[in-house]
């Protein structure tokens, strides 16, 4: 009965939400013509993701407050031609087109491949770069010689890219997807994966100069990067097309690409022959059209993600429960040093973000020779973090047991150890169960954080699907409902337990 009322509430809320959307959408688009706006304000707002990395847009290692990359130089050249200033807008790459549509910035220029499905939601200028996909392997790898050899191998690539889609279409490739560009190469060097398959500029920047890595196979999957603008900004797109053409013709584009080691026969083909420019822009990319995302395609993916989420949550909670108990006991009953160490552990883990802890475990530890799999890092990271919280719960539980219990046990000749095991802990754990259940619910939701270390659980499955389909709303609701459907029964259980314990106490 309660459940029903709750569901109706949710549905009403959602409806209000949906009604509000168009209004806020129009507000964001106060300017009718973006080109006009850019000229009037003298500012071109540029959306990109610096986390995406080199050689596109990234922080200058010598001066981290400064952004460098071939696209930075390109955007500044374009702004110069427009006679305006550039304003930066950092945006997660996964949602860059969505933010463009929402009106957060004027142009999205960040290695965005021109694909038919993207063309349905945004307008692309003519291409400014021809990319290919490149296979990178370890220098001594000899099993892989071409794209076909990737069948059955563990291959790293980036989220929501053409390369990822090509691997998916091969069917039996074990694909690891990353959101940063550095991480796949790190994992390749650590043998966590067998190969990396990414756009050539990325491969060129991160791997070409590394003697431990090498390129293999013909460049494949030729495609184009274009500047994305909003669908209605025809005037802006026209203007940008002219500027790209000018930059190509007077050699400035070539200069920029040469500086970044990106100039090759392909670019030559695109930019140096008159007329070709136009043709390439109209040509559909060589990648076959994707199957549209429907309930039959996304639901299995989401459910698989949910299973991973459940598995990670249960295993890490088991670790948290055991390690937490160990921490509490050493903290309360250990010698001086053990007490200090456990206290420090608890304070440090509670006082630092889980996200940082995960990064250190997965990407930091290999520096000192410890290489964990993503799964192991996820469970260790979550488990070790929650152990600190469980330890505090147990401590509160133990301290709530009256002193008379210990005295009675001791007067019966029970040792400290036996007293703890037979008298104190059983009572303390009973008190601790409701807050532990609540913590498990929290851990369950926090498990979404492990997506940063290449674990594809429910949240990551959602963000991949959503970014690919641009359908953040419905998929988001479905994902949220999945989470809710899993955590709500636990919540009910925790509440029932609490009630039961309170009832027991009143009976005394």
């Amino acid at each position: 009965m309660k459940y029903k009322v709750f569901l109706i509430g949710i549905i009403l809320l959602l409806q209000m939400f949906i009604l509000l959307i168009p209004a806020s959408f129009k507000n964001a688009l106060a300017y009718q013509d973006t080109l006009e706006k850019i000229k009037n304000t003298g500012v071109l707002t540029w959306g990109f993701d610096a986390e995406g990395g080199a050689p596109y847009v990234f922080q200058d290692p010598k001066n981290p407050s400064k952004l460098i990359g071939f696209e930075v130089e390109l955007v500044y050249a374009i702004a110069r031609e427009l006679g305006v200033k550039v304003q930066h807008f950092q945006n997660s790459w996964d949602s860059i087109l969505l933010s463009l549509q929402r009106g957060d910035f004027d142009i999205a220029l960040n290695g965005i491949e021109i694909t038919p499905d993207r063309k349905q939601s945004v307008l692309f200028t003519r291409p400014y770069y021809v990319y290919t996909e490149q296979i990178v392997i370890r220098a001594f790898e000899n099993r892989i010689n071409s794209l076909d050899d990737l069948h059955g191998k563990k291959v790293g690539t980036l989220y929501n890219t053409v390369a990822k889609r090509m691997l998916d279409e091969m069917g039996d490739v074990n694909v690891s997807t990353y959101s940063g560009q550095v991480e796949p190469f790190k994992d390749l060097l650590l043998s966590r994966i067998d190969a990396v398959f990414v756009d050539f500029p990325i491969a060129s920047y991160y791997a070409a100069s590394n003697p431990q890595l090498r390129f293999i196979g013909q460049p494949v999957g030729e495609g184009y990067y274009g500047i994305a603008v909003r669908q209605e900004d025809n005037a802006l797109a026209e203007k940008l097309n002219k500027i790209i053409e000018k930059l190509a013709r007077d050699g400035e584009l070539k200069e920029i690409y040469k500086r970044w080691g990106l100039w090759g026969s392909l670019q030559e083909k695109l930019f140096l022959h008159e007329g070709l420019l136009q043709r390439y822009a109209e040509m559909p990319p060589s990648i076959s059209d994707r199957v549209p995302i429907t309930i039959t395609t996304f639901l299995p993916t989401l459910l698989k993600g949910a299973l991973v989420t459940i598995g990670i949550s249960i295993l890490s909670m088991m670790l948290a429960v055991a390690l937490g108990l160990f921490l509490t006991i050493t903290r309360l009953y250990g010698n001086k040093w053990l007490q200090k160490i456990s206290t420090a552990y608890i304070e440090i883990y509670r006082g630092t973000p889980l996200l940082i802890q995960l990064y250190i475990l997965y990407y930091g530890l290999p520096n000192i020779g410890i290489t964990l799999s993503a799964f192991a890092a996820a469970i260790l990271g979550l488990g070790m973090n929650y152990a600190a919280y469980e330890a505090e719960i147990y401590r509160a539980g133990i301290e709530a047991i009256p002193k008379g219990q210990t005295e009675a046990a001791q007067s019966l000749g029970m040792s400290r150890r036996l007293t703890l095991k037979r008298i104190i802990l059983p009572q303390a754990l009973r008190v601790a169960i409701p807050p532990m259940t609540n913590d498990f619910i929290a851990l369950f939701k926090d498990s979404s954080l492990v997506s940063v270390i290449a674990m594809v659980e429910l949240t990551k499955s959602y963000s991949i699907l959503a970014a690919a389909s641009m359908n953040f709303f419905q998929l988001g609701i479905i994902t949220a409902l999945l989470y809710f459907g899993m955590s709500y029964p636990l919540s009910l259980y925790a509440r029932r337990l609490e009630k039961k314990l309170r009832h027991n106490d009143q009976n005394k």
Binding site: P402, G404, Q405, E407, A408, A409, Q410, S411, L412, G413, M414, S415, L418, R422, I423, P426, Q427, R430, N504, N507, K508
Partner: protein, 253 residues
């Protein structure tokens, strides 16, 4: 049997015992009386090592506990000594302190099984006969919170008896009981006096103390003011303090 010699005890900077000495012979039943805060509980707790003391020593059947400021104090020895003493000395508390997560029978068999290493079957048959002695054989599988205060205290007595102690310390066993339950507990204690166990009982039940004890100790502000047979202490007290203290109870009787 129990020899307390020149005991010094203070809590933080608050002195309590300044050289207290007391001998208790085997089989005697010693009632410790005195106003609240006089140190009755502390004295009992010193005897079974629940409370450490600064100076003097307590010897029980040859096991000697030294004050921790004494030269003869040795931390490693203390644990073993305390362990041995607790096997001989049982204790019953004012607040019962039963284990709430165990049934009555498990409360009783817990220590015999896990401390003495007696088999479960043997411990349970012992527990059965103890429960009969305290008239609770019906309640063996109840949990403590399903029992009245008097019943709980009788279980606590059976629990202490299950260790087959030579000495039992009672710390005001009836003080937190409703009046109608006091007698059932006192009569159980009285029956124990026929079993040859040495009993030390701190109590405010003067009638009971007079009735069952072989010796009475009147304690005030950490000092033994009067020590003698019940007749001597109750009928012919030597000190003024004892007289005033007892006069309050005479009226009630």
């Amino acid at each position: 049997m129990i020899k307390i010699n020149n005991l010094f005890k203070r809590y933080k900077e608050q002195p309590l015992f300044n050289g207290l000495s007391l001998d208790i012979t085997k089989g005697s039943i010693v009632a410790i009386i005195g106003p609240s805060g006089s140190g009755k509980s502390t004295l009992l707790r010193c005897i079974n090592g629940l409370v450490a003391f600064q100076g003097g020593y307590i010897s029980i059947n040859g096991y000697v506990l030294h004050g921790f400021n004494e030269q003869s104090y040795n931390k490693a020895d203390v644990e073993i000594t305390v362990k041995n003493i607790r096997k001989k000395v049982g204790m019953v508390f004012q607040q019962f302190n039963l284990f709430p997560h165990m049934t009555v029978i498990c409360n009783i068999t817990e220590a015999p099984i896990h401390v003495l290493g007696i088999s479960k079957a043997e411990a349970e048959s012992d527990a059965d006969s103890l429960l009969r002695k305290v008239y609770l054989e019906e309640k063996a599988y109840r949990y403590p919170d399903q029992l009245s205060g008097g019943e709980q205290q009788r279980v606590a007595i059976a629990r202490a008896m299950a260790m087959k102690p030579e000495i039992i310390l009672f710390d005001e066993p009836t003080s937190s009981l409703d009046p109608e339950m006091i007698d059932e507990v006192l009569s159980v204690i009285k029956e124990l006096t026929h079993e040859g166990i040495t009993i030390v009982i701190a109590t405010h039940e003067m009638g009971f103390a007079k009735d069952i004890s072989t010796e009475v100790v009147f304690l005030e502000k950490g000092k033994i003011v009067e020590h003698g047979s019940p007749k001597e202490v109750f009928c012919n007290p030597q000190s003024e303090r004892t007289k005033t203290f007892l006069s309050r109870f005479v009226k009630i009787q």
